[in-house]
């Protein structure tokens, strides 16, 4: 069980999908029950991971490793290798949680072709989990690409009026980015063969040889930058960073509610995860190249401001939330390319926060849409009079999304800005307006939709949240408060992998992060505060001893 926990988590949704194939499509309620039970099971099997991972959170390297390099296709050098560190652990927990939430939220929203819907959704779930677990680039690429198909069908079949356009645009855009990444990784693979005489896609092997290209006279720094750009394109489209974001509003607006939740909550994180897992360790010298880094920061800041400004003037609620994602993900990439422990761990935490709060925002929009079949802001007003519980939850999630202290968004954004400030105060200064604008567009939206008297007679008889809908929000609200009030466990989980990556990229600037030198809370505290670290270290050893 302990050894195969990742495989179990990975294939539970797929097994459920296979089971659903044999259920007759007329018995819709049976299908819904089975799908929900499978999704809940998918969440429950990932729960044991929490204590197990917690116990070894400071240990270096990947945990729960499964499989061996090259065991899947030895002739190519591809292996079925799974393993997680703190970053992928949090993203996996987010995926299983949001997977369950969005399947639960689809109960009444999806009325036709129910069976297919749940099958594709569960397949999608497996694909996403695989992306976060794979430690073999070939396996990663398989999941990365295969996952596009169910998402394409979810948008294309159950989407809104322009679903065909949005679905194909989503598919083509993402594929466009990833094919160049395939070429780049084929080069890394070939280069690894040159250096070691072995063909392998094992990520840990590529970690060792890929950084050498930058200094290899046969290829040189320009070539390494081109390789980085091939990866960048794939991930930047997925995130999406400005100016590669144009697929996102279409896909988000047209997708069914649950599809939007997963799209915003998990799919976008694959891009940022890719940056952290691949771009930084593969090309440490490239990302520290002033020009490259400058562009990355510039695009992130443009994304933050641009996304927020465009959100401000949307008439459609879902589109507003979609553009707000561009802005929030700008913070995440800003934190990544700040390239210090605070920025990076803030970025990963913010990815989780964005999954929670934006996922909830899409659910919120979906609930109104299900009742009224319109998302025009001008159609609403005074909703808090008729749906008070709904209005309260909405307020909590809006505050979380705009980064109010005591809620999760604040912790992530604050840490990112702190990390950015440590690198260059001007970068932070440019990013801060994004926070203010977020407050503006969200509060203005809230005011227009919820406050005042009910002006539109169609809104007078709207019923408040059903118990099922309340249940979908409960875990999200709890996690939002948890991260907002007590984020320490999250930072502890992130500390080891983040320090590892920062040390790989800029070991010279952060010699204190050398593996083996443990320190608690390095994420929030500058790296040179060594005395405190030693004290905590002893405390930590004692606590380990008592176990």
């Amino acid at each position: 069980m302990h050894n195969h926990i990742l495989s179990i988590i990975l294939f539970t949704p797929l097994a459920g999908a296979l089971l659903l194939i044999f259920v007759p499509k007329e018995s819709k309620d049976a299908i819904r029950w089975i799908a929900n039970i499978v999704a809940l099971a998918g969440l429950l099997v990932s729960v044991p991971l929490v204590p197990w991972f917690w116990a070894q959170r400071f240990e270096p390297g990947f945990k729960f490793m499964e499989g061996a390099p090259n065991n899947w296709i030895p002739s190519i050098g591809a292996g079925y290798v799974l393993g997680i560190d703190g970053i992928s652990f949090l993203l996996i927990m987010l995926t299983t949680l949001l997977g369950w939430v969005s399947i639960l939220s689809s109960w009444t929203a999806i009325e036709n072709r129910v069976k297919e819907y749940y099958i594709w959704f569960l397949v999608l779930q497996t694909g996403m989990l695989g992306v976060f677990m794979a430690l073999d680039f070939f396996l990663f690429f398989v999941f990365w690409e295969a996952m596009l198909v169910p998402m394409y069908l979810l948008i294309g079949i159950w989407g809104g009026p322009r679903k065909l356009y949005a679905a194909i645009k989503f598919f083509l855009y993402t594929l466009f980015g990833s094919v160049l990444m395939l070429l780049a990784v084929l080069f890394l693979y070939f280069y690894n063969f040159h250096q070691t005489g072995q063909y392998t896609f094992s990520i840990q092997a590529l970690y060792k040889t890929a950084p050498l290209i930058f200094h290899d006279p046969a290829y040189g720094s320009t070539f390494a930058i081109l390789l980085f750009l091939a990866f960048f394109l794939a991930f930047a489209i997925k995130v999406p960073m400005f100016p590669f974001h144009t697929w996102l509003p279409d896909a988000h607006v047209e997708a069914p509610t649950a599809g939007s939740v997963i799209l915003a909550g998990v799919l976008l994180k694959m891009g940022t995860y890719g940056f952290v897992r691949f771009s930084l360790p593969f090309f440490p010298d490239v990302v520290m190249h002033p020009k490259v880094r400058g562009w990355m920061i510039f695009l992130s800041i443009v994304g933050i401001i641009y996304g927020a400004l465009v959100s401000l003037m949307q008439k459609d609620m879902k589109k507003l939330v979609a553009y707000s994602s561009v802005s929030h993900l700008g913070f995440c990439t800003l934190g990544i390319f700040a390239l210090n422990p605070a920025g990076l761990s803030g970025s990963v935490l913010q990815q989780i926060n964005h999954g929670i709060s934006t996922g909830a925002l899409f659910l919120i929009v979906g609930i109104l849409y299900e009742r009224r079949h319109t998302r025009e802001i001008s159609e609403y007003g005074g909703i808090s009079n008729v749906m008070p519980v709904y209005a309260t939850i909405t307020m909590i999630m809006f505050l979380s999304s705009m980064g109010l202290p005591l809620l999760n968004g604040f912790v992530g954004e604050f840490t990112i800005l702190q990390g950015t400030f440590m690198e260059n105060w001007k970068w932070a200064a440019w990013a801060v307006p994004g926070v203010i604008l977020a407050a503006a567009y969200l509060l203005w939206l809230y005011q227009r939709v919820f406050f005042g008297t009910v002006t539109n007679p169609k809104n007078e008889k709207l019923h408040d949240l059903t118990p099922r809908e309340l249940l979908t929000f409960a875990p999200l609200v709890i996690v939002a408060f948890w991260i907002g009030l007590y984020p320490k466990p999250f930072f502890q989980i992130l500390e080891q992998p983040v320090n590892q990556i920062v040390y790989t990229v800029r070991g010279k600037d952060y010699p204190g992060l050398q593996p083996g030198v443990q320190s608690v809370n390095a994420a929030i505290r500058p790296a040179d505060d060594a005395g405190n670290a030693a004290a905590v270290q002893t405390a930590l050893n004692q606590s380990k001893g008592t176990k």
Partner: protein, 516 residues
Amino acid sequence: MSGNLAQNFGRVDYLMALPVILLTLFALGILLLDLMLPAQWKRVNAFTALGGILFSASGIVKIQLALNAAGLPGESAFLNSIVVDRFTIYFWYLFLAGAAISILMSMRYLEIEHENHGEFYSLLLFSVVGMMCMAAGFDVVLIFIGLELMAISTYVLVGFLRTDRRSNEAALKYLLLGAFSSGIFAYGLSLFYGLTGSTSLLGIRSGLVRLAASHPDHVDPVAVIALLTVATGLFFKIAAIPFHQWLPDAYEGAPTSVTGFMSVAVKAAAWAMLLRIFIWGLYPLRTVYVPLLIFVSILTMTGANLAALTQSNLKRLLAYSSIAHVGYMLLGLVALASVTYPAPAFFDGFKGILLYLLVYTFMNLGAFGVIASLRQRNVIGDEMDDIAGLYFRAPTEAVLMLIFLLSLAGIPPLAGFYGKYFIFLSLIESGHYVLASLAVLYAVFGLYYYMRIANQMFMREALDKTLLPISAGMRLALGVTAFATVYIGIFPEQFIRIVNWSLGIAQTASVATLVR
């Protein structure tokens, strides 16, 4: 005189030709049998043909056993005019598999068309006989004879729907252009004969080496002209742009099951011939033909992918897509010919082409099979509208079609990905970065037009809401092709090993059989 010659051939010669001989006998047998069969028994012909394929395959097994027992990687026969090495055996199996699946798909289709004649299966087998000669031939005369046997049988098969104008038009076009290209091809071969004094691929090769040694500073202009004409003929046969015009018309007009057969087996045979000639025979001229191949492959990928975007006829769309696939395979040849022989790119490019042909056989036949099953009593069934809402009429077929399309687009983990994988890898290994980037970008185009079909199947209402009847033979054929597409995708290891084996890489370190 001829009597003396025949005495020179021993058991080995006939053993090496056994699969070809068996298949010829069955093809002739069908013609005889057909005369005696009453109209309602015409299906027997199909089963006879399948039996012939089984017998021929067992002949190949017999050869393999004999070769293994003798510890030989291959054996030549009939005064070196054929060589049965692993490369040959690989292609022989491929042809037989393609033919068998096509026969399964044809049975009900021909009944609907009221053209259920024994000649169909006989011609199909004759065409496979020609292909086997093309793959095994080591003498350009035999290769040419095999080519003509295959081509003439296929011309007739394309025009098999006698009452259908499109079918007749396609057959005539195909015949004229095919004959024209064969003429050019033969002309080039005759130039090589004049230049080197040999019709054997080995003789041509050593003649070219001698020629290059005698004046090392430039390539003989006659050799260049000969190469250009031979290459033109070959490009016609594999339908590379700008020599592709016959293909969309022929594919559209031919009976759909024949289109499927042409797109996999006939194409594979043309590739076997092309590889034999370019790698075994004309390898010394590779500095001349690599730029030519680069030019043609770019043209092919560009033209075919752009043309496919706007097609509204399913068969034409898949026709252009099959031209685009030829463009990718040509890139494999570019990579393998632009490095010196034992470099990794040589083997990966070669593997890419062979694996591509293998997976293409299954996925493309599957796609054509689904289109063939759309043919009803009163529906031709090859327009976009005919496949609209297929999901509601035949859900299983729609999902299988989606698998075939995704595989054709090269989405992992489906079989089609691995062909592209090796070709891209070989391009990277041989340093063709720009070419590789271009190729992957065209793969994105490819996805667009394949997904247009998927859009129709899943996201539109059906125009004709009746359930689609699927015959047992078709079910079997679709099942086999879909299973292969998915299975090769998830567990490709054994298939890569088979390809390695056919190149003589896996078991023996020596690759003497490859370039001899």
